[in-house]
Amino acid sequence: MLLLITRPRYDTPTHYLFYWAGLLIDEAKKKGIKVIDLDKGKAKKKKLHSYLDKQPIDTVILNGHGSPEAVAGQDDEIILSTGNGTKLLGNKIIFVRACDAGKILGKEIMKNGAGGFIGYLQPFIFPIDKNYFNKPLEDELAAPVLKCSNQVGTSLIRGRSATEAHKDSLDKYAETIDKYSSSEAINSFLLPILFWNMTSQVCYQ
C-alpha cells in the first residue's frame, strides 16, 4: 500500500489535525506502509497533483479546511476541487477530514472512478483545551472526537474498505458516546459534538 497524507498547519484547527494525522503516519510506518507526507508547506496543489499523477497511491487522507466543493492545503490554498484534480483519484480510497466536502466534492470524486470516499456533510467541530495547545495529543477534550475520526484512517491503513472504515469509526463514536453518557462521566458537553461529527460523516462506495 502507498499512502498519501496532507497535513497543513497554519491555524488552531490545522495545528491539531497536523498532530493527530501524524499518529496515522506512525501507524502506517509501523505496518511497513510507505507514506508520502505532504506536511505544512508541502501541502500544495502542484505537489499533490504531481504525486497523484505519477505515483501508484492507493489511499489518500486529506486534512485541512474544506467546503462543499473544495479542500484546502497550506495557507488556505485550494488543493482539490470540483473539476480540478478529482480525475486523479481513480481507484483510490479517499478520506477527507475537512468541513462539508462530502456534499458535492465527494460525489464528484466517486463519479470520476474513486474506490471509495469518506468525508463530512457539515463543519467538523471539536473542542480544544487551551492549556494543551502545545501538546495537542495530550488534550483530553479534543481526543475523544479526534480518536473517532482517526479511526477511519487507522482502519484504511489496516486494509479495510471505505465502507468498513466508516463503520469502524461510527462504532467508535457510538462507544465513546456511551462512555460520556454514563452518570459518572464528566465533560458530558462533549456529547453533542460527538453526535454531530458522527452523523455528519458519510461514505460513498
Binding site: H65, F126, L141
Partner: protein, 84 residues
C-alpha cells in the same frame, strides 16, 4: 425552529436552552468550528444570541443531540426506568 418567508425564526426558549448548555462548558475550552476558526465559549454564546452562521450551526448541533435523546433504543429506556 419555524420558517416564515424562508427566514428561520428560532424561539427565544431555544436560544436560552442552547446558551444554558454552552455555559456548562469549562472556561478553558475553545471550540474549533470548521473553516471559521476556533472560538472561546463566550464568543460562541454571543454568536448564538446574534444568530449568525456560526451561532446557527451551534444551535443546530445542540438541537440535533437533544432530538436524538427522544430516539433512545427501548433497552435504554427500560434501563432508565428500572434505575428510577
Amino acid at each position: 425552529m419555524e420558517e416564515k418567508n424562508n427566514i428561520q425564526i428560532i424561539s427565544e426558549d431555544i436560544i436560552n436552552l442552547v446558551i444554558a448548555r454552552l455555559e456548562t462548558i469549562p472556561p478553558d475550552v475553545e471550540m474549533s468550528v470548521g473553516n471559521e476558526g476556533s472560538f472561546p465559549i463566550g464568543e460562541l454564546i454571543k454568536r448564538v444570541k446574534k444568530q449568525d452562521d456560526i451561532g446557527k450551526k451551534i444551535i443546530e448541533m445542540q438541537l440535533a443531540y437533544l432530538r436524538s435523546l427522544g430516539k433512545l433504543p427501548t433497552k435504554d429506556l427500560q434501563n432508565a426506568s428500572a434505575n428510577n
